[in-house]
């Protein structure tokens, strides 16, 4: 459980790491829109190249990206199976037994696979190159214009950063409780269905209890230090946009614009 790659920050030094978190978040949104355009294979080849360049610039290893994609494998297989049954158009490629496999189903699955892969790689690049705290700071800044319509930007950002902070703590706690219950004869792998449900219950209940305990303690600690959410606060860390950030914007707009024009013609 300690080697989850998805969403983990990698403390490297690259030009992508040094970008402003706000720029990276907006760039991610633009690229996401681009990915969801029905751009055809040429468009995806172009996007793929751009994403590949990005990962090289961010000094991320293929191995790391592969590990962050692994949890999605199950979903992709599931998608393929559903598509095989649902989409029965186009030409028949081949038959398994007497079950025909249609070309549309295969292409549709490939499309979705490529889209998902690109999305996962992009978000992994964002989380791997941006410290969680910078990320939430960026989100807070980007949400702050919505304060006009009473959107609690700071509170949302604080909630996200607390949630991120407690992921490793909860993982640790889970492992500890699993061990404690294993000492009491819980077998997470074997056993009948009823026993399995019981064993999950024996893990979930203590985990919730301790999560609430943590929440309570944290709330008290924050209040003791005079935290009031709707006060304006000064910051030690100030965000500044540099030339690199504008370059990233320009590239993203070019890609998105290019794809739109391409589709128009």
């Amino acid at each position: 459980m300690n080697n989850i790659a998805l969403g983990r920050y990698l403390p490297l030094d690259s030009c992508i790491h040094r970008l402003d978190p706000r720029a990276k978040i907006i760039a991610l949104i633009l690229m996401m829109v681009a990915i969801f355009l029905p751009a055809g294979w040429i468009g995806y080849a172009l996007l793929g190249c751009a994403v590949l360049c990005l990962t090289v610039l961010a000094k991320l290893k293929m191995n790391f990206l592969w590990r962050s994609m692994k949890p999605m494998m199950f979903m992709l297989v599931f998608l393929l199976i559903i598509n095989l049954f649902m989409l029965q158009n186009g030409t028949i490629l081949f038959e398994i037994g007497s079950f025909p496999i249609y070309s549309d189903a295969v292409f549709q699955t490939l499309y979705i696979t490529v889209r998902l892969m690109l999305m996962i790689i992009l978000t992994t690049v964002l989380t791997a190159t941006t410290k969680p705290l910078d990320l939430t700071l960026g989100i807070e800044h980007l949400l702050s214009p919505f304060k006009v319509i009473h959107l609690p930007a700071h509170e949302i950002a604080m909630m996200i950063s607390i949630a991120l902070r407690f992921i490793p703590t909860l993982i640790e706690e889970t492992q500890r409780i699993m061990k404690a219950q294993a000492s009491r004869g819980v077998d997470m792998e074997e056993g009948k269905l009823k026993e399995k449900i019981m064993s999950i219950l024996s893990l979930i209940v203590p985990l919730f209890v301790s999560a609430f305990q943590h929440a309570d303690d944290l709330a008290n600690a924050m209040e003791a230090r005079g935290y009031v959410p709707d006060r304006t606060r000064t910051r030690y860390k100030q965000l500044h946009m540099h030339i690199g950030d504008y370059v990233i914007f320009a590239i993203c707009f070019l890609i998105l614009g290019g794809l739109l024009v391409f589709l128009w013609i």
Partner: protein, 286 residues
């Protein structure tokens, strides 16, 4: 039959950049039928060591012989559940493992997992609840209404209900008030004398080691530094000094007196004996 560690090594996250060698080729013989204290600084490998005793952690190298089982790194062990019935392990802050609606059900959870019937398990719960110093009226209450110390008693009762031959406790008295800690330690001594359990206690409290334990194992940076009887261990407090651990009050008073020239036997380990020895010394000089 002794518990034997042979060149046992445990490396966390082996083969990754986060790897950490917690135990380094440990050779150790632990006797059954004693109360053994396991001491050492934070991060010295105490908790890792005791988690091998019921195979929650498996050695990455070497082997461990316990009861009639041999657990070695070379083969994947099977039926660990049967070992865990005989070796009960109580984690640090065990109160976080409670989850049932009533205390009776929670205590009965362990025995039921190991194949006891509902009635047997509830009978066991009745037996052990008084043993840990709570009365039967608690059985139908929710474990979440209790105070921290009471929760811990219930959690320990949950392990005792499994009736293990070997009981392993990771800092059972941590965070308890002095009276609670004393009662806790006295419970373990009683389990040892009345029910003949083999007991291992991970602790930082030297007073507890001196007063309640027979043997002591000193861990240091993944190695076993010393293993000897408690009485011989406190005769020579140089190891304690070297590790920066405060010796028990009796021992530190005895050593200070010896330093200033009192001729007192280094094997004295109780206040009464020490008082007598001092009186005798003073008598000589009058």
């Amino acid at each position: 039959m002794p518990i034997t560690f042979q060149k046992l090594t445990h490396e966390y996250n082996a083969g990754t950049p986060f790897s950490y060698l917690a135990l380094d080729h440990i050779d150790l013989n632990l006797q059954e039928g004693k109360i053994t204290a396991i001491i050492g600084e934070t991060g010295s490998g105490k908790s890792t060591l005791v988690q091998h005793l019921n195979a929650l952690l498996l050695p990455t190298e070497g082997s461990l012989k316990i009861l009639d089982r041999e657990i070695s790194a070379s083969e994947k062990p099977k039926h660990l559940k049967s070992l865990r019935k005989h070796v009960g392990l109580v984690f640090q802050f065990p109160e976080y493992q409670l989850f049932e609606e009533t205390i009776a059900k929670d205590i009965a959870f362990g025995p039921k997992n190991f194949g006891a019937s509902e009635e047997e398990a509830l009978q066991r719960a009745k037996d052990v609840i008084t043993l840990v110093g709570l009365d039967e009226s608690y059985l139908e209450r929710s474990p979440f209404e209790l105070s921290g110390g009471q929760k811990r008693r219930v959690a320990i009762a949950g392990i005792l209900a499994m009736d293990p031959d070997i009981l392993v406790l990771d800092e059972p008295a941590a965070g308890l008030d002095p009276q609670g800690a004393k009662e806790m330690m006295e419970l373990f001594v009683r389990l040892h004398t009345e029910f003949h359990k083999t007991i291992f206690i991970v602790t930082h409290d030297m007073e507890h080691v001196l007063r309640y334990c027979d043997e002591v194992v000193v861990m240091d940076h993944g190695h076993v530094k010393t293993t000897c009887s408690v009485s011989s261990f406190f005769q020579d407090p140089s190891i304690l000094k070297e590790m920066g651990i405060h010796p028990p009050a009796v021992v530190s008073l005895r050593e200070s007196l010896r330093e200033v020239g009192f001729e007192i036997d280094a094997s004295i380990l109780t206040m009464e004996q020490l008082a007598q020895a001092v009186a005798k010394e003073v008598g000589h000089h009058e």
